[in-house]
């Protein structure tokens, strides 16, 4: 069966510090991968998606970037965090053409 992992689970970082959040998927090959952000009391906003290694599409211009160095690894990064980057970050995977996205446990990021 497929599983998706995210780490860390929680993170507190000062403004201006770098960020790296990691997402890995097991039990599948060549998944579509997605990064979402959920602000407090809000729905999810799609940030980035990837259909293959090195292929990244950005949905929202912002302070963040994403990379996919391996087939089942998706990384969300920032060089300098802003207060507005605080939120709950969710990674999701989809078997290409299946149209169902399955989410990881999420990372709660607080920028202070």
């Amino acid at each position: 069966s497929q599983t998706i992992h995210q780490w860390p689970a929680t993170l507190v970082q000062p403004v201006g510090s770098p960020l790296s959040l990691e997402c890995t998927v097991e039990g599948t090959s060549n998944p579509n991968l997605y990064w979402y952000r959920q602000a407090a009391g809000r729905g999810l906003q799609l940030l980035f998606y990837s259909v293959g290694i090195g292929q990244i599409s950005s949905e929202v211009p912002q302070n963040l970037s994403a990379s996919r160095p391996q087939d089942r690894q998706f990384i969300l990064s920032s060089k300098k965090l802003l207060l507005s980057d605080s939120g709950f970050y969710l990674c999701a995977w989809e078997a290409g053409g299946n149209y169902e996205q399955y989410f990881g446990p999420g990372t709660r990021l607080t920028v202070t």
């Binding site: 579509n32 997605y34 009391g41 809000r42 729905g43 999810l44 906003q45 799609l46 998606y49 259909v51 599409s57 949905e59 709950f88 969710l90 999701a92 989809e94 290409g96 053409g97 149209y99 169902e100 996205q101 399955y102 989410f103 990881g104 446990p105 999420g106 709660r108």
Partner: protein, 117 residues
């Protein structure tokens, strides 16, 4: 662009009773999917049910069923025999089907459901 509206911020239901959560959407597309996701206090998003727009039959998954009204652009979720474990935030989501390889979800703002013992 697609929009998804969940106008009820909160609902409450007695255990073992039935509750219906409302969702409307706006799109000019004819080929799409609709989903309901559940987010319990653990905050992990769990897929509850999906509906293909081309299907007239409403989807069902055990105690969960939908009422899909394509012309009205309405997609409600009915939970039968509510259980305490159904307490969660529920999100309605829209997916336009692309000819390419990826699928983008547009989410509503969610509704908080509380099941009372």
């Amino acid at each position: 662009a697609q929009t998804v509206t969940q106008s009820q911020p909160e609902m409450s239901v007695q255990e073992a009773e039935t509750v219906t959560l409302s969702c409307t959407y706006d799109t000019s597309e004819s080929n799409y999917y609709l989903f309901w996701y559940k987010q319990p206090p653990s905050r992990q998003m769990i897929l509850v049910i999906r509906q293909e727009a081309y299907k007239q039959q409403n989807a069902t998954e055990n105690r969960f069923s939908v009422n899909f009204q394509k012309a009205a652009k309405s997609f409600s979720l009915k939970i039968s025999d509510s259980q305490l474990g159904d307490t969660a935030m529920y999100f309605c989501a829209f997916m336009k089907l692309h000819t390419g390889a990826n699928s983008k979800l547009t989410f509503g703002k969610g509704i908080t459901l509380s099941v009372r013992p």
